[in-house]
Amino acid sequence: MENPYIPYPVRIDEIKTETEDKSLKTFKFVFLNPEDEEKFSYRAGQFAELSIPGIGEIPIGIASSPTEKGFVKFTIFKTGKVTSYLHSMKEGDIMGIRGPLGNWYPWETLEGKNVVIIGGGFAFTTLRSSIIYMLDPENRQKFKDIHVIYGARSPGMLLYKDELESWAARDDLNMHITVDSCDDPEWTHHTGFVPTVTEQEGPAGTEDTYAIVCGPPIMIKFTQPVLDKLGYSEDRIIMSLENRMKCGIGMCGRCNIGKEFVCKDGPVFTLQQLNQTPKEY
C-alpha cells in the first residue's frame, strides 16, 4: 500500500527573491532520489504539499512546467508559520514534497481553443506553469490565440520579470502586463487594475475561447462581470481555488465547498461548477 503521507525528500537547489518587498521567493527543488522525479509527474495547475520536517506542511501551486525537467519550482509568499520558516531556509537544505495533488487546468478541452490567462498578484504561479507549458515548441500549435493579462501592485511586485519581458517580445503570445500605479516614466506597459485591462484588451468570449482566472478575491470579484460583458459563458471561465488544507488527498475534511474537496476534486473549477456549490472559499 502506497503511503500518501510520505513526502519525497528534496534539496533546495536555488532560492530567488522575486519582489522588491522580499515577501515572495521562488524555490527550485531537486529530488534526492532521481526516480522520485518520475513519480512526481504533474500537469500545469496542480499543487503539492511542501513539507518541512518538524515545522509542518503547506499546499503550494507548482510554478514550474511539466516541460521543464530536472527540478520543480514553487513561488512562496511569506505569511504563516511554515512559509516564514521556509523563507529563512538556505540553498542545500533538505525538506520534502508530497504530490502532485489536485486536478489541473483542462488541457484536453483547451486544445484547439483560444486561451486567455488572467492573473493578479502572487496567484500567478500555476499560470506561469501553464504559459511555459503552452509555449513549449511541441505544444504551441495545439492552441490558437493566447492572451495573458497579469497585474501586480507595482513593477517591483511583478513575479518572473525576465520571463514576462521575453513573453512580451514574442509574436505568438499577446502579453498585457499592468500595475495598479507607477510613477516610473520608463514603464512601457499598462497602468490600471486587471479588470479594466481585461475589458480593454481581452478578446471577446466565443464558443472557442476560454479564460483562466487566478488572483485575489477582489480581482476575481470585479473580473467576473467584465468577462460576462465580453460574452464568456460560465463553463468557459476556469478558476483555481485556495482553502486551508492539511492532507491534500480529500480525507481530512476541511477544504470542502459542499461535497467537493478543493484539494482533490479541485483546485480547478469552472465558474459553472462553483455556482452550484456553497461559496465557502
Binding site: 503521507y5 520536517p53 518538524g54 492539511k246 492532507c247 475534511g253 470542502n256 459542499g258 456553497p278
Partner: protein, 358 residues
C-alpha cells in the same frame, strides 16, 4: 449462517485462549461510565453495559497518532527525511462487545479513507487486523435511532461475530471468516440448531424498543443550495451552539483530522490528531480570511456534511448510524434528529420546515 452456543461458564476460558493470538479490547467501567479499553491479562470485558460513553472509533483511528518520524540530527542518514515509524505494530486484535451501531460506522468512515486514488494506510491496516465481536442490543437507549439511520440493534452486517445474550449463555452468529477464525481460537464450537426463529423474534423485539427515529427519505431530493441557505433551520440552533467539538469527538462516523509536527530532542514527529469542523481554526486561511468564519457556517457544515453532502456524494445513506451520543452529550442540546427532520421536511417555496423529535 452458523450459530454457536457459548455457555457463560466457558466464556472466560475462551477469552483466555484468544488472548494468545489477539490483543483484546472491551467495555470496562471507568469512573461512572463505560469505555472501550485494552484488557489487561486476566481482565474480562464488562458486558453489562448499554454503550460506551465515547464511541470506540479510536480503536481503529486513535485521537492522536504518530504517522511519520524522522531524525533531527544532521549526522544521521534520515535527517529530515520522514518515514513510517518502525515500531508501528498491527497485531491482530479483537474488540469484544462492540455494538452494531458502532460497527456500522466503520464502512461509513471507510468510504473516506479507502478511495480509488488514495488509501490511508494507518486506518486500513488497523481495520484489517481487527476482528469485531459484537453484542446485540436488547435494551437500547431512549435517544437511540439506529433503525432509521441504516443500522439496528441486531444489525450484524459489519460484525465478524455477533453475540446475543441469552441468560446463561450467548448465542454467537459467526458472520465472516475472521469471525470463524476467532471462534476456533476460542474453542467455541457448540453448534446451536433450530434457533433461527428465536433470534428473529429477539431481533424484532429489540427493534420495537427503538422509540426514536429520523426521516431521511427526502434528503437526496432536496436541492443542496436550498438547504444551505435555509436560515430557518440554522439560525436558532446556531445561537445555542458553543462550537465545542463534543459532537464530533464522540461521534463514531466523524473522521476529520489535523496534522501537526512536533520535535523532541533529536527526533521529529508528524502527528495526526482528530479535528473538528466546529472550530474556527479548522478552515482559517493564513490571510485571516475564514470561509466558515461564523458559528452558523460551522454548525451548518456539520449537519450538511452528514445529512446532505455525504448522501449526495456516496449515495449510501446518511453519515450517521443513530448511536445517539451527540444527542445525549451536546452541552446545549442540539439534536441531530430535530435538524435532520427539519432538513428533510424543508420546503424551499415557503422556507418552512417541521421541527419534530420523535
Amino acid at each position: 449462517m452458523k450459530v454457536i452456543r457459548i455457555d457463560k461458564n466457558d466464556w472466560a476460558e475462551g477469552i483466555e485462549k484468544i488472548r494468545k493470538t489477539y490483543s483484546l479490547i472491551g467495555p470496562v467501567k471507568e469512573k461512572f461510565y463505560h469505555i472501550f479499553a485494552n484488557l489487561g491479562s486476566g481482565q474480562m470485558p464488562d458486558m453489562e453495559f448499554t454503550n460506551s460513553r465515547i464511541s470506540p472509533k479510536y480503536i481503529i483511528y486513535p485521537q492522536s497518532e504518530i504517522i511519520l518520524k524522522c531524525s533531527m540530527n544532521a549526522e544521521e542518514e534520515d535527517y529530515k527525511i520522514y518515514r513510517e515509524p518502525e515500531d508501528k505494530e498491527y497485531k491482530e486484535k479483537a474488540v469484544l462487545g462492540i455494538r452494531p451501531c458502532d460497527a456500522d460506522s466503520l464502512p461509513v468512515v471507510m468510504r473516506n479513507f479507502d478511495t480509488d486514488e488514495y488509501k490511508d494506510p494507518y486506518w486500513l491496516r488497523a481495520f484489517e487486523t481487527t476482528t469485531l465481536v459484537g453484542l446485540a442490543c436488547d435494551a437500547p437507549c431512549p435517544s437511540c435511532f439506529c433503525t432509521s439511520a441504516g443500522s439496528g440493534p441486531y444489525n450484524h452486517k459489519n460484525l465478524d461475530v455477533m453475540l446475543i445474550d441469552n441468560k446463561d449463555h450467548y448465542l454467537a452468529e459467526i458472520i465472516t471468516e475472521k469471525g470463524e477464525k476467532l471462534a476456533e481460537a476460542a474453542g467455541w464450537q457448540d453448534k446451536a440448531e433450530g434457533i433461527a426463529d428465536e433470534i428473529a423474534k429477539r431481533k424484532s423485539d429489540a427493534e420495537s424498543k427503538i422509540e426514536s427515529n429520523v426521516h431521511t427519505d427526502n434528503l437526496a431530493k432536496q436541492p443542496l443550495l436550498d438547504l444551505y441557505e435555509a436560515t430557518s433551520i440554522w439560525e436558532k440552533a446556531a445561537f445555542a451552539c458553543i462550537n465545542c467539538g463534543t459532537c464530533t469527538y464522540v461521534c463514531p462516523t466523524c473522521w476529520c483530522f489535523d496534522i501537526q509536527d512536533e520535535v523532541y530532542g533529536r527526533e521529529g514527529f508528524r502527528i495526526r490528531n482528530w479535528d473538528s469542523c466546529m472550530y474556527p481554526l479548522f478552515t482559517l486561511h493564513a490571510s485571516a480570511h475564514n470561509p466558515r468564519g461564523t458559528k452558523l457556517a460551522r454548525l451548518r457544515q456539520r449537519f450538511m456534511h452528514k445529512l446532505k453532502y455525504y448522501v449526495d456524494k456516496y449515495e449510501n445513506g446518511i453519515q450517521c448510524t443513530g448511536c445517539g451520543r451527540c444527542v445525549r452529550l451536546c452541552p446545549v442540546n442540539i439534536d441531530i434528529r430535530r435538524i435532520c427532520n427539519m432538513m428533510n421536511s424543508y420546503d424551499p417555496e415557503t422556507c418552512t420546515c417541521e421541527a419534530t423529535v420523535s
